[in-house]
């Protein structure tokens, strides 16, 4: 039987698996996480320590040449309490039972911040300038998830 209601519109999935080279810097960064170390790259020109590490400093346009261990402590630069998450459908959100706090966190010794989750925290008490510390996975899996989240100090 033909469903004439559905003639007007086609739903099409695009399913494509990509294979990215993560690059030497990120590869070393992830290997560092397995050793419970946060690694940054220092620019030889402006001396900024970039975390996650980048092979090229955008401002100076030169290659970074020195590895620096940063953290595990850090400071919350900005944060948001997510009451929802994207549901992956057209513009929809799912309410979260437990809000998720996402922060821009600047590890001690780094000149940049990165986005990660703030756990073990009462969302009402998270604030900018709050001190936090990295929490590691019990067993290293050689993945970004070896760094589980940051918790308030």
């Amino acid at each position: 039987m033909t469903d004439l209601e559905n003639v007007r519109e086609l739903g099409i999935d695009i399913d494509a698996t990509y294979s990215w080279s993560v690059g030497a810097s990120m590869e070393r960064f992830v290997r560092g996480l397995a050793d419970r170390r946060l690694l940054g790259a220092r620019c030889p020109k402006c001396s900024r320590v970039l975390v996650p590490p980048r092979k090229v400093c955008e401002r100076c346009f030169v290659e970074t040449d020195e590895w620096v261990e940063v953290g595990p402590g850090g400071t919350v630069v900005s944060f948001t309490v997510g009451e929802v998450e994207l549901d992956g459908k057209a513009g929809g959100f799912k309410d979260l039972d437990v809000p998720v706090v996402t922060g821009l966190i600047k590890p001690d010794g780094a000149d940049t911040a990165f986005v990660h989750v703030i756990g073990e925290a009462d969302p009402r008490e998270v604030a900018c300038s709050m001190r936090v510390e990295a929490v590691w996975a019990d067993e290293a899996g050689g993945a970004l998830s070896d760094l589980r989240y940051f918790k308030p100090l």
Partner: protein, 384 residues
């Protein structure tokens, strides 16, 4: 050689949560309306630059299928995968250089046909931000909002004032996708909490829509219309992708773009010299940040400028009398709409949302990327 370039025509679809049409017909209709309203045949168009995005369209080289609808058959034609103001920038350069006399610009997308907010997730760094899964367009906007509010001591209520102004103004714009006549602060503060401090009415509405613009060099422009709107200045700048490396409490790339556009247009005091501005605020707090980056007020004074009423439709520097991007945000068209709305204000064509008083000089902004990473500014002037 100094070739002046003018806006000689424009058209917009009605921007809606869902336009019940194929994408090709939406593009055809806006292009047809542009040419008809400008009184120009498609043979007069030398080059076509569109803004559209493969991810939003769900197909590679998405402009393969819009050659026809854009009146580009057997013409020089290209596209940018960015905001439509960039398409206008490149079209302007093509005309200004002398390579072409007449350029057609268009931007479009249909939020109703792709999983909304996911395109920005797929724009994230695939080696860190994306696999971590903590960041999306809204949570990024929230981090930006918090950075700004924290640095300058701005309250959620003050930020909500932008939504009150713009969604109220959108009621005068029949093309707007979302308008709330008589909206008050309580409505914004009571809207659904998404990512603090962002609520639903702080965020742009998912929108289907298209916009088109016709540019011509001076002699041709004066043949085509007795009401040309001159492009007096342009500027553009891109900041780093990395949010944690940017000044999120400001917008450095917008400040750089504005500086370049002001220099070109000979503007030294934007607050005094600009009569209307149309800015591309994806979120309410961005409008306050943009006031400051555009030099319309000092750092941290955005909320004060809003509260003074200066940027209200009846103020001395109305910003977004159309309702802005909070009123309608068809991705890839939004910045182009800002240019068109600015030209409408200069021509006195804005109908119920026309601002009182003469508009001699207008500013239009387009932006792209998480937290307004990339910015373009146009300065437009009426005939003199």
């Amino acid at each position: 050689m100094d070739r002046r370039v003018a806006v000689v025509g424009y058209a917009q679809t009605e921007h809606r949560p869902r336009i019940d049409s194929s994408r090709e017909m939406m593009v055809y209709r806006v292009t047809r309306e542009l040419l008809d309203s400008a009184g120009v045949t498609k043979d007069r168009v030398d080059t076509v630059v569109s803004a559209q995005n493969d991810f939003l369209e769900g197909r590679t080289i998405s402009n393969m299928r819009t050659v026809g609808p854009l009146a580009a058959f057997m013409k020089e034609e290209t596209k940018v995968e960015m905001d439509g103001a960039y398409a206008a920038l490149y079209a302007y350069a093509r005309v200004r250089s002398g390579l072409h006399d007449v350029a057609l610009v268009a931007g479009e997308s249909m939020a109703s046909c792709y999983p909304a907010y996911l395109p920005a997730v797929w724009a994230l760094d695939p080696t860190f931000d994306r696999p971590n899964g903590f960041l999306n367009e809204l949570s990024a906007g929230a981090l930006q909002a918090r950075s700004y509010m924290e640095r300058y001591g701005v309250s959620e209520e003050q930020v909500a004032g932008v939504s009150v102004k713009n969604l109220g103004s959108a009621a005068g714009n029949p093309k707007a996708c979302r308008s709330i006549p008589g909206i008050d602060l309580a409505a914004v503060m009571g809207s659904r909490a998404l990512y603090s401090p962002l609520r639903e009415l702080n965020c742009y509405p998912l929108t289907d829509g298209a916009c088109a613009l016709l540019l011509a060099e001076e002699k041709t422009a004066l043949e085509m219309t007795d009401r040309p709107v001159w492009i007096q200045g342009v500027g553009s700048s891109s900041d780093t992708y990395y949010l944690g490396e940017r000044n999120l409490s400001g917008c450095d790339s917008l400040a750089a773009a504005a500086d370049a556009a002001y220099r070109m247009a000979g503007i030294s005091d934007p607050r005094a010299e600009i009569d209307v501005a149309e800015v591309h605020e994806s979120f309410s707090h961005e409008e306050l940040i943009f006031y400051e980056a555009l030099g319309l007020c000092g750092e941290g004074e955005g909320a004060g400028l809003l509260e003074s009423g200066a940027t209200s439709p009846d103020g001395d520097l109305p910003v977004n009398p159309s309702g802005g991007a909070l009123g309608a945000n068809p991705l890839c068209a939004t910045g182009l709409i800002r240019i068109v709305e600015s030209a409408m204000q200069i021509r006195g064509d804005a109908g119920d949302h026309q601002v009182p008083g003469e508009v001699a000089t207008a500013l239009a902004q387009g932006q792209n990327g998480l937290c307004a990473q990339q910015n373009v500014v146009f300065i437009l002037r009426g005939q003199r």
